[in-house]
Symmetry: C3
Subunit: 207 residues, 3 copies
């Protein structure tokens, strides 16, 4: 088990926890909580595998993640009142997950000889689209379309990854730098309440 | 045409009817009613086929189901006011559908040498996720995440199926027992208004 | 670059613009606006490719469309207040897109030896389901399930395409007739405010 695997698991646990909490806040039953946690953690990678035609999708071949998510959901339900006070740890985990999942997706794109722009899209999809599916299942507008620098951090990391890879920088260094870029952008964005501008002047009834 | 085919058709018709009624209650036009009926009946199996990489998906190769659903939708629209009084028959059909679709999905998983836990997931997905996509298309929170013992009945049936299959029980007996387990669990759950507990203590603004 | 390519691009631009405007009206940030524009333009074709097992999906192999959509989104954001006055041009573009995308999807179905009914479904899916995914991402009930003759126009065009193809009519003539049928049906429907009937008598609490 490498450092990479450990970080990957940390990301999976963080994403599953995030999904479980959103589902509990919506008063879902344990089945619903599990499903939402599952798609939050694995939905982005699943969509990536479907789009590139890698089948069966990853979690069907290696069930480790299914078990990890199951344990995470059970613990999240049991300790739901205590975990609220761990929001800073969860934020850190979530940022690690965003970083790691971006790297995994981008690297899969490069290995499969997709163009850089598609590889970046695969990285960001892997990292950020589990949350989109989570929000759709919870009947919410996907939060990453409106708030915070989230997908933007993933895109920046994926671009850095592509550049470092192009210059044959050592893999481990590339992983660390990419993840750090993503975490730092998120920290700065949340600390200073930065978000991308939106365009309020269009009213719906004007369309 | 075997007993299995008959039950499969009964399940398809029940699911399509359920989808058609939800769509009509949302004031969808006939095209919308058809699409929602279609995804309710075939959405779970379609998702399963996509995830395991079986393409083209089932209903593209055998259009029987497309025609069955079309006729079902036309009849549901024509007899919409009379069908309301058939809610008990519809409930029974729907439970049969849940049972049959669980068996189909679980068996596909076993045949393709997936692990038991993935096979159970495929069975439940086949049976219960058409309804999830139906609710998403209708802009509702998926009802199976919040109400009734529904997916839980499917999971229980899929586990029974795996066990009976492991002990080489005759297929027809396995089918009957699995379907009966699912129908009985649902009947008991609805009769006694049982549902899984939810976790109200988490407020959304506490996240 | 053929006339077909030009029309295809016009359709892509129109669909992307439509997606961008809906996303801006929902106050999405630029990332969200891009994603919604992207799925509106390419979501239908992506779903088609996934269902028939054509992988990787089209836009991953030819990134032209990614760049066209990116430029479209940037222009839509910059000129958002001026474009409002272009609603008639946008309507025409959108109808062209509906026509072209219907043809592309139906032809792919025929080439892959799918039955006529599945080919029609693929055509309509290619043309109309980007809008469905757009509406789901924006947490709205898909507009094509309730308003206007939209998918119906696509279905009519796809049927015409199948018939003309069956009688070996010259391809270019088939393309023109099919697109004209779709555009004319839409023009008439919008001009006379035609829509399919809905079935109001069913109340949700009666189910």
């Amino acid at each position: 088990m490498t450092v990479f695997d450990v970080l990957n698991l940390a990301g999976t646990i963080a994403f599953a926890t995030s999904g479980a909490f959103v589902a509990m806040s919506k008063k879902f039953d344990p089945f619903g909580v599990f499903i939402v946690a599952f798609v939050t953690a694995l939905g982005g990678g699943t969509l990536r595998d479907i789009l590139i035609g890698s089948s069966p999708v990853g979690w069907m071949k290696d069930t480790t993640y299914v078990y990890v998510i199951t344990v995470t959901v059970v613990l999240a339900i049991i300790f739901r009142n205590k975990l609220k006070h761990l929001s800073k740890s969860l934020f850190l985990f979530d940022s690690i997950g965003l970083g790691i999942f971006t790297i995994i997706g981008t690297e899969i794109g490069i290995q499969a000889n997709f163009s850089p722009v598609i590889s970046i899209a695969l990285g960001t999809m892997t990292a950020a689209f589990g949350g989109v599916i989570r929000d759709i299942l919870c009947n919410e507008i996907p939060v990453i379309f409106r708030k915070e620098i989230y997908a933007t951090a993933s895109i920046a990391g994926a671009i850095a990854f592509i550049i470092l890879h192009y210059y044959n920088v050592n893999n481990n260094i590339t992983y660390v730098i990419t993840t750090l870029i993503i975490i730092i952008i998120r920290l700065i964005a949340v600390r200073f309440k930065l978000s991308l501008p939106t365009f309020y002047t269009i009213k719906k009834n004007e369309l």
